[in-house]
Symmetry: C2
Amino acid sequence: MKFNEKFSKATAGMGSSMIRELVATTKGIPGLISLAGGFPSPDSFNKEDIAECYKEVVLESGNDILQYGASEGDAQLKEELIKWEEYKNMSMDEMLITVGSTNAIYYYAKTFINPGDVILCEAPSFLGSLVSFEAEMAELISIEMDDEGINIDKLKQAIADCKTMGKKIKFLYTIPDFQNPTGISMSAQRRMDLVELMAEVNIPILEDNPYSELRYTGEMIPSIFKIAEEKNLRGLVTLVKSFSKILGPGLRVAYAVSSEEIIGKMCSWQQKVNVSPGCVTERMVARFMQKDLLVKQIGIVNDLYTPYWEAMLTALEDFMPKTVKWTKPEGGMFVWLTLPEGVDADELFVKAREQKVAFIPGSKFFPKGQEQHNCLRLNYSYAKPDAIREGVKRLASIM
Amino acid sequence: MKFNEKFSKATAGMGSSMIRELVATTKGIPGLISLAGGFPSPDSFNKEDIAECYKEVVLESGNDILQYGASEGDAQLKEELIKWEEYKNMSMDEMLITVGSTNAIYYYAKTFINPGDVILCEAPSFLGSLVSFEAEMAELISIEMDDEGINIDKLKQAIADCKTMGKKIKFLYTIPDFQNPTGISMSAQRRMDLVELMAEVNIPILEDNPYSELRYTGEMIPSIFKIAEEKNLRGLVTLVKSFSKILGPGLRVAYAVSSEEIIGKMCSWQQKVNVSPGCVTERMVARFMQKDLLVKQIGIVNDLYTPYWEAMLTALEDFMPKTVKWTKPEGGMFVWLTLPEGVDADELFVKAREQKVAFIPGSKFFPKGQEQHNCLRLNYSYAKPDAIREGVKRLASIM
């Protein structure tokens, strides 16, 4: 029996993931070099320690962690995270463990969005979050970026425009470190300017930060959350961090920190949506941290990716025509190429596939109707350094 | 900073869980016997085999299961489940693995509900699901049950009334086996009548079935899903089953089966909400099944609970006054008591707490405004048999 005429408006309006479909068209091509996805390298997975931690926690604490657990998340894991991040004056009620970052972002969206509300985001931005906001019937307004991150003047203009038009802005979504898809990191000064502006206009910030631990050069920039903390603006920024790029996305463990007010509401959604994250896996990660394995693991991951990143930036220098520009990330997984005006990366994708190299056309990272086409994203966390170099060479040859 | 004035309507209207708050008032009372919660006994947890399966799958398949996994769920686990349940002509696209049953129910709700839509449910029913439907702004209409399950005549009447009032019914939610909170199982005949009626009026059924494997006497009744299958009505029934009561709720693994149309939409929601379930835990369960441990485990669980259940039913016979009536479940975790008219179980709860015994007042299992008060739920899966007997004795003494 068919029931599509009974589906909710949000469901009827949902498309499938364009990026997934695009990547699917490159599957099974022999010799294809994929610079398309955002998968971490399997060589980064610490199977031995993870296997051992799983076994230990189930044997030792099975009665606790096989039982129903707190919707707020595992207390042991929270304790480790608060120590690790050196959060000051943070109570357990200001942190929520979730089933990956996307899950935390979804709860935040549910907490704030009524149909028709405006969400501000960077142009371009991470599609996985944008579609979540769209599924809650939000209107997305994307703000241009420069080398230092989101453009504050353009942001002010967008906020003023919304006010004029009577539109309700609910929050700003940003990925300040090694942004997906551009690789751009927001400068410390820009973060401070952003906090100041948003506190003034009373618009909260959702800081999505899955990549900050993947730094191969340069110095760590404090999170927007920490900058707001120093100004006693708890609640202005909700920070989401993930273990996906360090321990493995298959675990589905991330966490959010914010005010007790916002975390409490996000937790109410977790109760309705998942009851709690997987308790065994939460405790496994807590054990991994208790054994001081995390600092070692981050070192291993960064040592692994540094030559991948070098191979990408070197190959771009060596092979790309002068008319192509690209960002200079100091870490993360992605670099963003800007092609001459008029070149369409969606068309280039088809030609590149014939040359057995894949990327994601830039248009896929903009809200509907706000697309740019002369741009593309390359990944440097999955294909190995030699393949990255060869892939960039093939790509350059068709430009 | 406070942002409550920016919260979505659904968020602003959310209450906290009344059952959780009630249970919290009994915590820390020394000697208290809890017949309140719905927790499985920790004695049912197979820590050794689960620990070993976790270790094995991470060591052997870590590159696969620590990576991003399918939103549809782990193919190995689906394969095992299709074999286990003897589903005929079922493709992988007709099954979705989820982060527990509540998660599957949430996706189903998101697939169908627009604000103001009507959801039909049993009176009483499982509050965790009802609040999910309410969070999507649905109107709940509860239908009386008798010893054989939902009353078909009352159901027909409710459907007719909705038609008259121009209300849109989206689906019927039912727990046909050892229902929470009543312990009632829907008879085979009633299931057939229900399928016939709902096919005729074109209203789909959400069958929530976490307890059917916990049978201590009598014969298994085919699921509503299977009855509809025999009439080639794929899609009419979406069945949700869980490992929570067999392996442990802390794992957060359940699954849904339905038509490809409905499962596809639920999967699109999973992509937005969780990306995928925890891949390591999914594969651990697959391994547990591949090693033929599940049939043994279900035997162990049923052997464990049989004396719990016997203790409950015997104690009710031995101690309860003649004016109190109760259901006669053949399995599961709950029995439902009906007190004389005018007795308020919410008031009884306070007196019982003084006598150091806890239960859940029946009113908590009805939609707002449709409460009944002379009823209550007792659990027999957590307190041990001696404590169950003593708890019932204490409860009887205050009636």
